[in-house]
Assembly symmetry: C2
Homo-oligomer: 333 residues x 2
């Protein structure tokens, strides 16, 4: 790896999480589907915020969490995403740069505020997200710096980028730069509803080779192939993508590489507090391992370790050094 290489460039919606514990009745009362992400407008955001309980705030966003995970493992990460020039945008930038992540995307001035997601955490740790995109809607192809993309072993992007229209173009621009530089392109499907909104386009990304590495959880992969059978979905993706990592909650992960399927167990933890960030941190470990030319199953094992850390506490990013944790677990990070 060159001095100036990045293990990964992560591109996604730059979102501040506003997290509160909730009873499941609250979800029902507000027509929310547990475990999914709902896009909301400013008015709905106000209504939900008024109704929800006392909260804590932390920088989040799927790709941002993955970048933080890679940095916590001791890797070199870059991030692109759009915050506003406001208090929350300042927090977001601080939390990225002070973690050692290169984050140079210009802030939006005189526009919508920094995005926020109201995350309702159920007693079983499952989280239900309500996202007001705000400034994220202004991320576009002009925000994609070719040099940074070219310097990254993999450019990792959220399926969520399909929601703000200009961000989709940014995604395609980044993929073009990455492949021109001989680098890899990766996507996470993000959310089963998100897959439902953009199924044909996501399949097209895989089948045209725009994406080389796919992340999904079981619900998302089943949604992609419109099947109730995980086995059928795994079988289908064998033909569509050279490398896929599927997280399956307590059952660990399934790695599908060049048509071959392998399983990696989850890392058991005593008490699941908050599932926010589980998939994002799995991706962090997996991408970190790949950047060091580990086997995909070893990379998935590191992903499982990183995911276990983040679900043991409230908040979407590591609360302790993943590098220390991985070293203690015998990984050569």
């Amino acid at each position: 790896m060159h001095q100036n290489d990045f293990d990964a460039l992560c591109i996604g919606n730059a979102i501040v999480d506003i997290m509160a514990r909730t009873e499941d009745d609250f979800l029902t009362d507000h027509n929310l589907v547990k475990g999914t992400m709902h896009l909301i407008d400013a008015e709905r955001a106000e209504t939900l915020y008024t109704a929800m309980g006392p909260a804590i705030e932390a920088s989040g966003g799927s790709a941002g969490n993955t970048a933080a995970g890679i940095a916590s493992l001791g890797g070199r990460a870059a991030f692109m995403g759009k915050v506003a020039d406001d208090t929350l945008g300042g927090f977001y930038r601080h939390d990225m740069t002070s973690a050692g992540i290169v984050f140079d995307t210009a802030a939006l001035e005189n526009g919508a505020p920094t995005a926020r997601s109201m995350i309702l955490i159920s007693p079983d740790g499952e989280r239900t997200m309500n996202t007001y995109l705000g400034a994220c809607r202004e991320l576009g192809p002009d925000d994609i710096d070719a040099d940074t993309v070219s310097a990254a072993r993999v450019t990792y992007m959220e399926g969520y980028l399909w929601d703000p229209p200009a961000a989709k173009a940014a995604f395609r621009q980044a993929a073009k730069y990455a492949h021109a530089a001989g680098r890899h392109v990766s996507i996470t499907l993000s959310d089963p509803f998100c897959v439902d909104r953009f199924r044909a386009e996501f399949l097209d990304l895989l089948r045209t080779g725009t994406v080389d590495i796919l992340f999904a959880n079981d619900s998302e992969l089943k949604s992609l192939y419109e099947t109730g059978s995980l086995d059928a979905a795994v079988d289908a993706v064998r033909h569509d993508c050279p490398l896929t990592a599927v997280t399956v909650g307590a059952d660990g992960a399934i790695v599908v590489e060049n048509g071959k399927v392998a399983k990696v167990p989850a890392v058991e933890i005593a008490d699941i507090r908050d599932l926010t960030g589980a998939g994002d941190l799995f991706a962090a470990g997996f991408l970190f391992g790949l950047a060091r030319s580990w086997s995909a199953t070893d990379a998935a094992r590191l992903g499982a370790l990183a995911a276990a850390e983040v679900i043991g506490h409230v908040g979407p990013r590591p609360a302790t050094s993943l590098k220390d944790l991985a070293t203690q677990a015998g990984f050569d990070v």
Copy 2:
């Protein structure tokens, strides 16, 4: 208790906490005394924030945390404090009102921003606070509503209110209203440096009967009486205040009532994560018990339970229902 009575009215600096883990070297490098609160200006706040690691944000402030603890126990609490009409001020008000706390103090418009404290959490859980007071400097006697004070069994105030000049006058105004209504007045000494700044005035509050119930930790009480001996400090306070609760970390609490001294053990916990809010939550349990006419030692036992909850996780307020926790522990809350 009348329908509209409050178990307690808490008056204090309305502060959003910005919390990050730190190594102790960082404290030394930035000339910070571990375990204490430093007042900082906007420029110093910027410098420290840039230097500190990724953070999470939560509503805090000593008296605000106590109000949140009383609400979590199922009690009825009111709060007075000054936020600005900005994003953090909105978070603060939400976190109070959605917890069921009555918080009617008008927000400051076109002035300094909402106060924030950068809280650095050491590996052993000790916290070092760096507070930019911002809008808190504008809390004054006009913000003290006589009806609310009169409706509260006790008006509980921070020693920290002596730092913003107008707040001291607000404190005295509130004490006057409370005693006129036959209610109690309570103060926490807040911080050993704070005691050092205002020792003569704090002693005067006790000796003139302006304050009936005193909270302190061992460092603060020793600072008040300028002695290295906790026994000497406890002996001194016997003559100055009818009811004093002194928290002594892992050694629990000492209750000094009408000259008699009793000890209450700490509630043991497996893993101390963050000491922020320990004293505030002890006060919440103690005041809740007093409002229900419990003995001072029973009230201190509830305080110890509430303190144990808050030091088991990062953040200055309860992360679970203290009412449920207290019920499980056999308290009739």
